[in-house]
Every structure is written in structure tokens, then in C-alpha cells.
């Protein structure tokens, strides 16, 4: 168990693997948190609209940016893993990881600006 979380002396591929698993755990946690929060809809317009006002606060927006980063890292690395799993792009597995990570940072930054500007 301890070894699973030990990221030292790992190749880029294993860094990608661990990052994929950790972002995946975070996203599963978020999925159930999101479903629990949506239960506010059962309380009708008063309860939901009050929650929406709170969710538009900078703190919630910052959490949304972190979520977007997690989705991008997990999604883009997932596409890379799928390609590799089907035997495609084997030579490019490391550059693909770095391209995905860079793209995640760029898109997350763009998303952050778009969310805070609304």
C-alpha cells in the first residue's frame, strides 16, 4: 500500500499511471458529492436557488477549477492509455503524457479565466 503512493524513482509512465489513479479516486469522490448536492433540487426553487447563489462564490469557483484540472488530466491521460492499450502510439507514450499534461494546464487556465469572468 505504501509503495503504491511512493512516487520517487518512477518513470514518466508510472508517474502517469499514479496520477491517473489518484485523479480517478478524486473524481469518484466528487461524483458522489455532486449527486448528494443535487439532492437540494428536491427542496424546490427556494432551496436550490439559495445553493446556486452560494456556488457562485469565489471559493466554489476555485474548487470548480481544481475539478476541471482533474477531469482534464484524467480524461487526456485516459485517451493516451486507451491508445496504448490498443497498441497504438507505443513509441510516443512519454511525449503523449507530457502533451496531455501541458494541454490540461492550458485548458484549465482558460477555463479558470472563463469561470471567474462570468
Amino acid at each position: 500500500m505504501k509503495r503504491w503512493f511512493d512516487l520517487r524513482r518512477r518513470s514518466a509512465g508510472l508517474w502517469a499511471f499514479r496520477l491517473h489513479r489518484l485523479s480517478g479516486i478524486g473524481l469518484v469522490f466528487y461524483l458522489y458529492l455532486h449527486l448528494a448536492v443535487l439532492n437540494q433540487l428536491r427542496g424546490g426553487p427556494g432551496r436550490w436557488d439559495a445553493f446556486v447563489a452560494l456556488a457562485r462564490s469565489p471559493l466554489f469557483l476555485a474548487l470548480d477549477v481544481i475539478l476541471l484540472g482533474g477531469v482534464l488530466i484524467h480524461g487526456l491521460n485516459g485517451l493516451r492509455l486507451t491508445l496504448l492499450g490498443f497498441g497504438r502510439g507505443l513509441r510516443w507514450q512519454k511525449p503523449l503524457f507530457w502533451v496531455g499534461l501541458t494541454l490540461s494546464v492550458v485548458l484549465m487556465s482558460w477555463g479558470a479565466v472563463a469561470m471567474f469572468r462570468r
Binding site: 518513470s11 469518484v28 461524483l31 443535487l38 433540487l41 428536491r42 485516459g78 485517451l79 492509455l81
Partner: protein, 120 residues
């Protein structure tokens, strides 16, 4: 390729294939969900009336229901892969598969019930 073999051996070939296919579908469905719910909605989030009107559209209801089913399947297959990776045996995996199927059915049932409660 060490990590690929680790993934495939951990969750089995069929489990891995379903994980990959649901993952590809999710890239599209998450993109649609995120843009529709957070970028097209005024102020970034919909009011109760807007949520109800949005979900009453049959195409949107279908897309959101598909998103719920695919994301739950992908998430629970991921949980199984991680648990198997930590050394769960075949017998425990059998129990785990049933447990995760029940959790998945409950999750989808809860989500659909909530959606129907809003659009009624």
C-alpha cells in the same frame, strides 16, 4: 508498457475494454455536460426553473441519463481496478463485482428518480 500490463492484468481484458469504451464516451458526454451546465448557462449555474426546463427536453434528458449511466459504470470499474491492484483475490472479486453492480444500480436509480422529480 509496465503500467498498461498492470492495468489490464488488474481488471481483466473485458473489464479494461469496458473501462476504455466508457472512458471514450465520457470524454464526449463530460464535455457536453460541462459546456451546457457551466458555460452556456447564465452566470454559470441554472436556477431551479432553468434546470427543470432544460431537463424536460427529451434529447437533454437522454444525454444526461446516458452520462449518469456511463460515468457510474466507468467510476465503479475504476474502483474495482484499484482494489484488485491492491491485491484482492478472485473470490473477493466475485463478491466485489456484485457489490459494485448493486451500488451502480442504486446510483443510477437515485439519479433518474431525482431527475424525474425535478421535471414532473
Amino acid at each position: 508498457m509496465e503500467q498498461m500490463e498492470q492495468i489490464k492484468m488488474g481488471s481483466g481484458r473485458w473489464g479494461w475494454l469496458l473501462q476504455a469504451v466508457s472512458g471514450i464516451l465520457l470524454v464526449v458526454l463530460v464535455g457536453l455536460h460541462w459546456v451546457a451546465q457551466h458555460f452556456l448557462a447564465a452566470g454559470g449555474l441554472r436556477t431551479y426553473a432553468d434546470v427543470a426546463a432544460y431537463l424536460r427536453q427529451p434529447v437533454i434528458f437522454g444525454l444526461e441519463a446516458a452520462f449518469l449511466i456511463v460515468v457510474t459504470t466507468h467510476a465503479l470499474l475504476g474502483v474495482r481496478a484499484i482494489l484488485l491492484d491492491l491485491g484482492l483475490g478472485p473470490r473477493a472479486d466475485h463478491v466485489l463485482r456484485w457489490a459494485l453492480a448493486l451500488v451502480g444500480a442504486a446510483t443510477v436509480g437515485y439519479g433518474l428518480d431525482l431527475t424525474l422529480a425535478v421535471i414532473r
